[in-house]
Symmetry: C2
Subunit: 116 residues, 2 copies
Amino acid sequence: MRDPLSRTFAALADPTRRAMLARLSEGEANVSDLAEPFLRDMSLPAVTKHLKVLENAGLITKGRNAQWRPCQLNGEPLREAVDWMERHRIAWEDQLDRLGAYLKTKTKGTRHGHKK
Amino acid sequence: MRDPLSRTFAALADPTRRAMLARLSEGEANVSDLAEPFLRDMSLPAVTKHLKVLENAGLITKGRNAQWRPCQLNGEPLREAVDWMERHRIAWEDQLDRLGAYLKTKTKGTRHGHKK
DNA sequence: TCTATATTAAACCAAGTTGTTAATTAAATA
DNA sequence: TATTTAATTAACAACTTGGTTTAATATAGA
């Protein structure tokens, strides 16, 4: 999981982390602010670890203000992830169309076209 | 990693799998076609496993034609992933602007605003 | 029927992930 | 200075991931 794009997608592959990013998209927040919605589900060190994953993926940056660590979103890796997807999007939609057409012709019980 | 969106992002978090999707966005391909570019790096069963991950994420569907398993892209989960990202995109760009502005004001050696 | 081809399954392993609890660090404040 | 607050570190366990090799399955074709 060494390349940046993989690290970005891996960081997004967790609902807790996505929720943290969503929260951060509304503005800066300290670790404890970010942790608050999750403290019924997990411990604070677990939160710290999730934030570390986001930080390592370059998705957030942590500042410091006394004992607080104000976190900020960094949109750039997210943009690169969207870019990767957009680069293939047209092909996917073509594929969807083709699949749709295919399903329209077949769709007669023969789930796998079992050898005729 | 139970929710669909997480499974999609996790599936995307690997360069081999992304390359397979890219290949499939050009059209249907059998397992051995998809495997071919990677057989110097990994065994065929490893490829099968990657395809299983893509299949479990709903990103591809495998048909059958004699002993071949023609794989097709399924764009829908990808669209949902893009949707998630787009839902936050504007906020990210705001955040980028804010960060840019912030960096313009600070940026004087004091890497962490060490207590004044 | 025997063989070759395409693909998957099984058993295993090393490394990484995600959580825990207990201890530590650092700064603000009484 | 002692205490509280915010956050991290360390050590550990359970599970997942991504690879391996060997064996099995299914189909086509000689």
